[in-house]
Point group: C2
């Protein structure tokens, strides 16, 4: 039996830190929104509204953390997102913080 709190916590983290999770996915591979949605839903076993995803992707692009290029694949127009160096730096800042939390579990 898995951890009873885990699902609730994962849901909170993905909801509040959606941009970070998107950067994590795109640091592995450039992808388009629809595929990112599928990936989050299968990986985290949660629902993700596309009405929340697409504005977040556009916002990350406006901030310079992602860049996009339009492609047409089998008649379907896809917007492929790639992480930028600024995006990688932002993600690394997040990793630094949670690394610190793990190394210093009891906040003195």
């Amino acid at each position: 039996m898995p951890d009873p709190h885990q699902k609730e916590l994962v849901q909170r983290i993905v909801k509040n830190m959606l941009d970070i999770q998107l950067l994590r996915i795109l640091q592995a591979n450039p992808l388009w929104g629809y595929m990112i949605k599928k990936k989050i839903e299968t990986n985290f076993k949660i629902k993700l509204r596309h009405g929340a995803l697409y504005p977040t992707l556009n916002s990350l692009e406006r901030k310079g953390f992602l860049k996009s290029q339009k492609q047409t694949h089998e008649g379907r127009a896809r917007k492929i997102y790639t992480i930028t160096n600024a995006g990688k730096e932002y993600l690394q800042s997040y990793y630094n913080i949670i690394k610190d939390q793990l190394e210093n579990k009891d906040l003195q």
Copy 2:
């Protein structure tokens, strides 16, 4: 020069995961609200409204993650919070998730 994103990210994490940060602090030592506020403000170098802190502490107690006992110290009434086993388990679930994020940085 420190990381320019760090302050913004720390603020987001403390805001969205305030309960987790409270459990982290109380896992180290039982403390009262006012002292917790000071600790968060000096540790994270951010402001924390007591109007946000006290309801969160009460909520954690209702969930069984904290227990409290009233003390009077030099005429001041303090409500000392101690983390429960359930609280420790919840915090450990959080650590498990961020540990996984660090070990699996690129979400495949």
